[in-house]
């Protein structure tokens, strides 16, 4: 048979064309063309939209929408469901998780999934407008699951990072690539998992991979061209400020971790980004990195224009428990003072003066803390930690922390913080190992408790006083949303999505979503109708934060709730 006998199979087509889900035209309305820095700065004035990862630069995860409130929340139900699904073999098949925050701009939702997926959806119906899929290598090194925490949107573009450490700009109308930059070294074990933040003309991203012994960093790129603007390392080289906190000899600094794997916040008045940094590497063997190990486990204030570090506050000096401080830095004001609140994996709530990093208060927010103690004047006293080779020790909280990466919310209306809490311990024994590039660098055997794992959602005032607590049989492992309807929303690992009275903690509404929650809910409005959206899909690093749920099914749905359409609306926005 000759070559000419072959049937012409033609050219392979985009899989999305065969999905039956792409809306007519495949073009999103130009809602992001005029999404400028000034508009993002004033995001709270347009509560119908959710314009940044935390909703606003201050990280409060608070919306002034109040159509859904304590009086009527019991009547909300699903308005639409987007089922992402998967086909083909993905990276981290067993550990993918739906951890994103949706972004909503004038009726269009931009959403990322795991394994390089990004979608534009009609925010009213859930209909897919376009989709983008980045090819993610199956062998990419992922510490904690095949996850992505969301996109940033500005100037007609959608920005996101990929598991193989690219930062990509898509055309917000078509989903086509505009620019694509590599900002991490996958051979060294670096990856990308966070949602970018856009400030002025910069899109800013951080690196993941601390468990592989890398040197954590933030990078800034020009929004329009993708040209690299600055890189800020979170572990100083010898001779740089902070390098005295690392061994003078050897290369511990070069493998020191301190990754910026979650999105920071921004204050235009100080012109500072506030970014939490990850654990030092190796996680549990402090003997090879004597010293405080700056700027790991720290809140770091960075000049947004230059990338220069202005101040830092280290929450766990010389960490040997895996207590990243990467989580949110919530900006708020009290008595005219510009403050920052941070709920750390080590179990303590830190309130700092965000103009200079001065300590204001430190308060424990979880019941069981045995690793050590931090006094109110900031003195850290370690008590239990893996020290002797092969000798097991047990401590609370475990390496996932009293609160993992998932976010607390702050309501300016009540003045309270709403915190998802994990009360879980772990047993660890030091197992020293030689560093090898691209190989996990923990230096311990760790088993997280399966029994005795509980959790709660708590409200705290700015002084750290607990105002109410809702107890759960399982740790609370999903971000919280607060609204002006005096509501707090939080999901459970077992699939329930809950609404609470923000003032009393009373459970007012619950919906079983079919898979556990490990994401960040948002709210938005279209034509006066308020929606609550939550990505649902259990998974990720479950062995670290809730091994008792390792057998739970994965999900891949975004579920959007609203009041019935015939309900008269109030407080239209």
């Amino acid at each position: 048979m000759t070559t000419s006998d072959y049937v012409d199979a033609g050219e392979a087509v985009d899989q999305g064309r065969l999905s039956g889900k792409v809306a007519g035209g495949e073009i999103a309305p130009p809602v992001t063309e005029n999404l400028t820095y000034e508009r993002i700065l004033d995001a709270r004035s347009e509560p119908e939209n959710w314009l940044t990862y935390y909703g606003t630069y201050d990280g409060q995860r608070y919306s002034t929408l109040d159509q859904i409130n304590t009086e009527n929340v019991s009547r909300i139900g699903p308005a639409w469901i987007f089922q992402a699904g998967v086909s083909g073999i993905i990276a981290g098949t067993s550990t993918y998780s739906f951890e994103a925050t949706p972004i909503v701009v004038d009726g269009v939702m931009f959403l990322s999934g795991w394994d390089g997926w990004v979608w534009a959806l009609d925010g009213r119906t859930g209909k897919e407008i376009w989709r983008y899929k980045h090819a993610v290598p199956f062998d990419v090194s992922l510490c904690c699951g095949n996850v992505n925490r969301g996109v940033a949107v500005a100037s007609g573009k959608v920005f996101f990072v990929t598991a193989n450490a690219h930062v990509i700009a898509l055309d917000a109308g078509t989903g086509k690539r505009v620019w694509d930059k590599t900002y991490g070294d996958v051979r060294a074990g670096e990856s990308g998992t966070l949602a970018p933040i856009v400030v002025k003309n910069l899109v800013i991203v951080g690196s993941s991979g601390g468990e592989f012994g890398v040197r954590g960093h933030l990078d800034a790129f020009d929004v329009e061209t993708g040209e690299h603007q600055w890189r800020s390392y979170m572990v100083p080289k010898p001779g740089e400020p902070g390098s005295e906190s690392w061994p003078a000899d050897g290369e511990a600094w070069a493998r020191g971790g301190g990754n910026c794997w979650l999105t920071g916040t921004f204050d235009p008045e100080t012109n500072l980004l506030y970014w939490g940094t990850g654990n030092p590497a190796p996680d549990f063997d402090g003997g090879v990195r004597e010293g405080d190990n700056l700027y790991t486990d720290s809140i770091v204030a960075i000049d947004v224009d230059s990338g220069q570090i202005r101040w830092h506050y280290q929450c766990t000096p010389h960490d040997v428990w895996d207590y990243d401080s990467m989580s949110e830095c919530i900006l708020f004001e009290r008595d005219g003072r510009k403050l920052l609140a941070h709920f750390d994996k080590n179990g303590y709530m830190f309130v700092l003066d965000r103009t200079n990093g001065e300590r204001v208060s430190i308060t424990p927010f979880v019941d069981r803390i045995t690793w050590g103690a931090i006094s109110r004047d900031g003195q850290v006293v370690p008590k239990i930690y893996p020290e002797e080779e092969g000798v097991e020790v047990h401590f609370y909280p475990g390496p996932a922390g009293a609160k993992e990466w998932t976010h607390a919310a702050y309501s300016p209306k009540t003045g309270w913080f709403y915190v998802p809490i994990q009360d879980v311990g772990a047993t660890a024994a030091r197992r020293r190992r030689e560093f090898r590039e691209g190989i996990p660098y923990w230096s311990a055997g760790v088993a997280v408790d399966i029994e005795e794992a509980v959790g709660y959602l708590s409200a705290f005032d700015a002084d750290g006083n607990e105002k109410w607590r809702w107890r759960n049989e399982l740790p609370m492992c999903a971000s919280v949303l607060a609204t002006a309807g005096d509501l707090v929303f939080a999901g459970e690992p077992s699939g329930e999505f809950n609404a609470y009275d923000a003032r009393t903690g009373d459970l007012l509404w619950q919906f079983q979503c079919g898979s556990g929650h490990h994401s960040s809910p948002v709210t938005y409005a279209i034509d006066g109708r308020q929606y609550i959206a939550v990505p649902v899909g259990w998974g990720g690093w479950a062995e670290g934060f809730l091994p008792g749920m390792l057998g739970a099914g994965h999900g891949s749905a975004l579920i959007v709730f609203a009041l019935p359409e015939q309900t008269p609306s109030r407080g239209d926005h």
Partner: protein, 154 residues
Amino acid sequence: MTTLNDRDALLENLGLDAQNKAALGKLLNTGNIAQASEGADGRMKATVRINPDEICWDPSILVLPHGGDLDLELINDDQNTHCALLPSNGDKKFIWLVNHSKGRASLNLDGPGYYWYSSPSGNDEGRGLTAVIVVLGDVPPEARLDRPDQPRPF
């Protein structure tokens, strides 16, 4: 015990190198390996085919010298219809491959690493039509960490 040199013979003796002998399908990764060629413009070219009754991509491991654009020719010499779902930046690429057909796919991969593809029809994947594209190389110099060279695995 067996050695690397015995591998092909052992697979044949055990009946793991073909469908419906020892197992129902052909064991994954028992096929061939090949390298893509590279043109003067940096675009890469390669051909993969499905031979009659082998239920296996040939090569089943395709190696690219670096990330970039690949022009892939796909040939189905089998007497059954198959298809291919391939990784590419932007969206996955899909093509039907009816009996004795030839098609094309233009892929963009930014490596390094390896990427699975398959024929997602029936359970072609489980029976053997799963293969990988391996992208060699390093990330660009500007993306690498500022630190001394570090020891790599032995």
